[in-house]
């Protein structure tokens, strides 16, 4: 129970949780190294909170183990686990003031003099002077910071954060992100951080896991996942991707050849997750560049031509939709660096890319192109 006991890696082994016939978490196995920052990303309802609740002890796993430093804690009562949670719903005690809310964990462990620690914690979350207020007298973002302080003050071996910054405005969220990251590195607490904000996950985490329907789709360093997604779900959940349906007939040296509507493209074999049959050729919108004619395409690039159907100016970039010969609309993000050519709807244009930036994913034979519309938030400008 005391945080002084030697910490260790957090390991989930074949963790499963079913509610009746519904499987919320499906045979989940992963390791979070001690002191690392682990982000769990996934669509609403994919089982993130349920996973955290099993680690905290608030939900009993249907099967599987939760191991902390090789000790199975899955059947340990929550108050005996060296784990604290920042709840998605805050769950602040309405009858206690802010000071007592933050001091709650320390007091329950019999620590007498809590004054200094509580004040330090409150100033860390920028709530000095709020000690005597009740939670109901705070704004949503302030309550969220109290929830953060209340968990963090205990310096647990593992801190579980269930969308802890969701209610904060952009500026405060960035500040808190930096603070969190600083605390995490300084104190060496293992953080398991659930978030919807992919940018937050990518900037803060050492490891990102993308969850879908109770399973981990892909796990790895942020750049690794972004640059070379493992599945179509990941490719479109983390940022956007243009996934073009094609067939591959196998390799040619270090490259794989893909046929898309009669045109052939090549992708390096190391950036491929399938080497036979139906595939998706993936290119991120910001990896596509637009020029007016095929003459301008640099050597070694691959290209596709089409017609611009939409151009949206979003400040840092302009987002174009390019309709290909077979009717699919590809997203193209062009940085507004000032040197770019501008295109207007109706213009003919050629999109080119470096084959080293493309990737190849396996595809069900009946799946078509998968591109995300221009309405989706691009990475880099999300709120």
């Amino acid at each position: 129970m005391a945080p002084e006991t030697p910490a260790g890696d957090l390991r989930l082994a074949n963790l499963t949780k079913t509610f009746g016939a519904f499987t919320a978490v499906d045979d989940l196995s992963l390791t979070v190294p001690q002191g690392s920052f682990f982000a769990l990303l996934g669509a609403s309802g994919c089982g993130k909170t349920t996973t955290l609740r099993m680690i905290a002890g608030l939900e009993e796993p249907t099967s599987g183990q939760v191991l902390l430093a090789d000790r199975d804690i899955a059947r340990l009562r929550p108050y005996k686990r060296p784990v604290n949670t920042v709840f998605q719903s805050y769950a602040l005690f309405p009858h206690l003031d802010i000071f007592e809310n933050v001091a709650f964990g320390l007091r329950r462990r019999g620590i007498r003099s809590v004054d200094g620690q509580v004040r330090e914690m409150l100033s860390l979350v920028q709530l000095d002077g709020y000690e005597r207020r009740r939670p109901a007298q705070l704004s949503g973002g302030q309550q969220q910071r109290v929830a953060l302080a209340r968990a963090l003050i205990n310096q647990p071996q593992v801190l579980l954060l269930d969308e802890p910054l969701g209610a904060l405005d952009l500026k405060l969220r960035r500040q808190m992100q930096i603070e969190l990251k600083r605390i995490q590195t300084e104190v060496g607490i293992t953080f398991v951080h659930v978030t919807h904000d992919q940018e937050e996950a990518m900037t803060m985490a050492d490891t990102v896991a993308v969850m879908n329907a109770g399973r981990i789709e892909q796990l790895g360093a942020p750049a690794e996942i972004y640059e070379f997604p493992a599945t179509a779900f990941v490719a479109n959940f983390l940022g956007q991707s243009n996934l073009i349906a094609g067939e591959t007939t196998g390799g040619n040296g270090g490259d794989l050849l893909v046929t898309v509507h009669g045109s052939r493209f090549s992708v390096p074999a190391r950036r491929s997750r399938a080497d036979q049959g139906p595939v998706h050729l993936g290119v991120r919108p910001e990896k596509l560049h637009l020029v007016r004619s095929a003459d301008e395409v640099p050597a070694g690039s691959q290209h596709l031509d089409g017609t611009i159907t939409d151009a949206s100016y979003v400040g840092v970039s302009t987002q174009y939709l390019l309709r290909t010969g077979w009717g699919t609309e590809l997203s193209v993000f062009a940085a507004n660096s000032g040197s770019q050519q501008r295109f207007a709807p109706g213009d003919r244009a050629v999109a080119y890319w470096d084959p080293g930036h493309a990737f190849l994913l396996g595809r069900h034979a009946d799946e078509d192109d998968r591109t995300t519309g221009i309405l989706d938030e691009p990475v880099g400008t999300s709120s």
Binding site: M1, A56, G57, Y79, F87, S89, A91, H95, F104, G105
Partner: protein, 304 residues
């Protein structure tokens, strides 16, 4: 520019204020709504109370036949208290013990119904209220049967030697306390239930996440958050239990009589109106003092 005309002003008020007449009526409305209740309270509470106060100061030598005179006889109070202090003490003692018993039963019951009963919740609530469908008198008479000397309960207790061969329950303080406990239990359970029903189980989860054992969680979260219901329930139980006389009358003997029995007989048997009124006022002020002290204490405890 024309679009701006519809923008609310800074104070949040619509641009065109309501006519003054309508606002005036709005201000009167709360008082109009209060009127029926206030009139009722005045006619049937305030006026009789003043009458009772006057009666408590009547000349004690008067009688119904000779008539009473208001002689400001404050001596009625010490006289009454001197004569009946044991019944006074008994009232508070019995009601106090009954309250403790009712809390021991009622709190877990209310908690279970509110937090654990799931779809049985409504049925269980009806069970709590069901006894109220029959009259208070009938319920107490039923207890008389249950506790009677040749009833199964006394038989059982004698068999296991918890009671001697001639031991009895009826006509003992135990019977009166049990009767009080039973009769007023719903008044304690219902407000408690209302408080516990609103208790967010996620707070209990948060407490256990923050190193609070179930016992500490109860002490630090559940109990303080159910305080409003607990206070209301305790008062609704304790006040009528203290003034009750049916239980002592039916389940006890004159040795168990409470102050309610004395007031009852003063008004209806001995026809000693000044004494009955004085005792009523004494009971009322004693209860007010107890309630006041209790609220002060309970109030500060919640802040701690």
């Amino acid at each position: 520019m024309s679009a701006l005309a519809h923008v609310p002003t800074a104070s949040g008020q619509p641009v065109s204020p309501p006519p003054a007449a309508r606002r005036g009526r709005h201000r009167l409305l709360p008082y109009l709504l209060l009127l029926p209740g206030a009139a009722w309270l005045f006619l049937f509470f305030a006026v009789p109370l003043v009458q009772l106060a006057a009666a408590s100061l009547y000349d004690p030598t008067g009688s119904l036949s000779t008539g009473y005179a208001l002689t400001w006889a404050f001596g009625n109070y010490p006289t009454a208290l001197q004569a009946y202090w044991p019944q006074f003490g008994r009232s508070f003692l019995y009601a106090g013990i009954a309250l403790v018993l009712a809390l021991l039963m009622g709190y877990p019951l209310a908690y279970a119904i509110a937090q654990k009963a799931g779809r049985w919740k409504n049925l269980l609530l009806v069970c709590v209220i069901a006894p109220m469908f029959t009259s208070f008198l009938v319920r107490t008479l039923a207890w008389k049967t249950i506790l009677s000397d040749n009833g199964w309960l006394v038989g059982l207790l004698r068999d296991v030697h918890l009671l001697g061969p001639d031991g009895r329950l009826l006509a003992t303080p135990i019977a009166v306390v049990l009767g009080l406990t039973y009769n007023f239990l719903p008044f304690l359970v219902l407000p408690l239930y209302a408080s516990l029903e609103r208790l967010d189980y996620r707070l209990l989860e948060a407490a256990s996440d923050l190193y609070a054992s179930p016992l500490k969680t109860f002490r630090r979260v559940t109990l303080p958050l159910s305080m409003p219901g607990l206070i209301a329930g305790t008062l609704l139980f304790f006040i009528p239990a203290t003034g009750d006389y049916i239980n002592a009358e039916l389940l006890g003997t004159p040795k168990e009589y409470m102050i309610g029995n004395v007031i009852d007989s003063a008004f209806l048997v001995r026809l000693d109106y000044p004494q009955g009124a004085a005792l009523s006022f004494l009971l009322m002020s004693a209860i007010l003092v107890v309630v006041f002290v209790y609220l002060r204490r309970a109030g500060t405890e919640e802040v701690l």
